[in-house]
Amino acid sequence: MATIELNRVSKTYTGDVRAVREATLAFRDGEFIVLVGPSGCGKSTLLRMIAGLEAISGGTVAIGGRVVNELPPKDRDVAMVFQNYALYPHMTVEKNMAFGLLRRRKHGGISSLLFHRAERRAELAAIDRKVLDTARTLGIEPLLARLPRALSGGQRQRVALGRALVREPQVFLFDEPLSNLDARLRIEMRAEIRELHRRTKASMVYVTHDQEEAMTLADRMVVMKFGVVQQFGTPGECYARPANRFVAGFVGTPVMNFIEGRIEGGAFVAADMRVTLPAARWPRMPAGPATLGVRPDQLHVLQSADAGASSTAADGASVAATVRSIERLGDRMDVAVMIGGTRMTARIENDDRLVEGGSVLVHIGLGAAHLFAIGEDGARLGDAHDAG
């Protein structure tokens, strides 16, 4: 168990490719941290720098208060679960799990074979016990004598977990461990990893490109893009108060809707709509171009007959739209509508009256909407929620 502190950590590859730029983060003892972002965002590089598998170009990494920049991986007391499992193909499951422990024992040398036989035997017995206990916890005890090639994907992943667990390291690192599994198994293993964290209370750093996985697993998550940390906070914070348009778009499914427009006289104005911005929520909004972000569950699709013409109300605005497509999810449905030239997605209760191509009114709720400066990564424009 340990804290991890990253202080202005950078990674530059030859050719001035900057994989990670000045990441400064502090992970608390026993926290489950998820590094998340699209592929190539530097999340794996950051993890590998913590592990010691990648040299650090700038800044410092400290584990348990000790700067580990110059320490080789074996001396950092970390264990890692790899995406492709990385089980030694020539060793049985048992040997795979015991391998790290065997290397670390005190009486492993040839001299112990001659002079400390009793201690050596006791040590080996302790390792056997540990491996057996861990295997039992993960339900892989019957597999101990098998070679990795005789295991299924899920079993291999479990063994890889076991290999990390059995070492009882200060920090567990996971590099997209579930991405090779099928959807059902992934969800199963996700719950298991979460449970494992609850039980061991160990510090864990987990890399994934799947925001849903990040949201469900993380105590706190680090959202990254192009090597830059975009936001570091709880899943709730990242969802409810995204730092910028990128985070808002990355976290949550379906993706947040964005409408390009301007702020004019206390209202957000786009091609076919004008939404009054409640002063209580956005007290001082400077005029100028901006992007309005609305989550799909904040869009309400109404039959024209239900709501009359386009209108503006304090909690949002209703605008005329055309239904482009409908995806039924069972209990709810995703409806893609065109408002002016902008395509937006609404997640609503099932409504059989809606037809593709039909005209509807869409109510844009401002309750959980956000305003962003323009641009792909435009920062969220401060609102009264931040003060609270």
Binding site: P73, K74, A86, Y88, G100
Partner: protein, 287 residues
């Protein structure tokens, strides 16, 4: 489905090939079992009769081994021991050093690794005859003449061809396996011993068998560097069946002794056959 004629043709070709390749071996067996006169006649006149061992002289085999060298039996036993020592050391040395160097070229990033690799490959283009005299001078200056060292020590510095083979094979091993080993507490030597060597077993089998056969049969190097009788390896000791003018007087005994010295190579090949086939079949290593 192949037609009957096609099948017959293929078998006929295979049988013809086998017969061609086995013919010299059979001739050796036939001659080794003949009386000295019949053997002499077979080498001079040949003919079908020379291929059929009538009245096999089985005692030729012990006789041949006994007469190797100047002292009865000792010559053969000395040479056998010498061959075994030199071959085992050279084989182990080549396999260990080539896999180490192969791993370095495949996995370690260091300045000049590519030019060094190319230079190493370049050494394969040098004919042995070119390096023979400089090497002899070098070993003489080191005081290694008439010892096993010139036959064994160079093996511990790797062999360009096998290094190349190891490098190609090791480059296929997923990087994550090596990283896992690093996290499990292994240094480069630990990774090599615990991960690379077991995973490159097919390459090691090929390296070992080829080096074994080459060293066991090598005639020139022992002839150049070993001078005393008691240092001779088997291939050099076979020379004792030649007379002082270079002629062969006891051809039946020479064949018997030669066949006996071939036995270890044949046994090794049969034992390693499975590894060979595995090595050819599964190139990739899956994590």
């Amino acid at each position: 489905m192949r037609s009957r004629t096609e099948k017959t043709l293929i078998y006929a070709l295979l049988v013809a090939g086998t017969v061609t390749f086995l013919f010299p071996l059979w001739w050796m067996v036939a001659v080794s079992l003949k009386t000295p006169e019949a053997a002499q006649a077979a080498t001079v006149r040949g003919g079908i009769a020379s291929l059929v061992p009538t009245d096999p002289q089985w005692h030729n085999y012990p006789d041949a081994l006994m007469q190797m060298g100047s002292v009865r039996w000792t010559g053969f036993l000395d040479a056998l021991a010498n061959s075994v020592v030199v071959t085992i050391l050279a084989t182990a040395g080549t396999a260990l050093s080539s896999s180490l160097v192969g791993m370095a070229f495949a996995r370690m990033r260091f300045r000049g690794s590519r030019p060094m690799f190319l230079v190493m490959l370049g050494t394969m283009m040098l004919p042995a005859q070119v390096t023979m005299i400089p090497l002899f001078i070098l070993f003489r200056n080191l005081g290694w003449i008439d010892t096993f060292l010139p036959l064994v020590v160079p093996a511990f510095f790797g062999n360009a061809f096998f290094i190349f083979m190891y490098r190609q094979f090791i480059a296929q091993i997923p990087e994550a396996l090596l990283e896992a080993a690093r996290l499990d507490g292994q240094g480069w030597f630990g990774i090599w011993w615990h991960v690379i060597l077991p995973l490159t077993r097919p390459v090691t089998a090929i390296t070992a068998v080829f080096t074994f056969i080459f060293t066991w049969n090598d005639f020139l190097a022992p002839l150049i560097y070993l001078q005393s009788d008691d240092q001779a390896t088997l291939s050099v000791a076979l020379n004792s069946f030649r007379n002082q003018y270079g002629g062969i007087t006891k051809v039946n005994l020479l064949m018997a002794a030669s066949l006996t010295t071939m036995v270890p190579c044949i046994l090794l090949f049969l034992a390693a056959q499975k590894q060979f086939i595995e090595g050819l079949g599964k190139g990739a290593v899956k994590g």
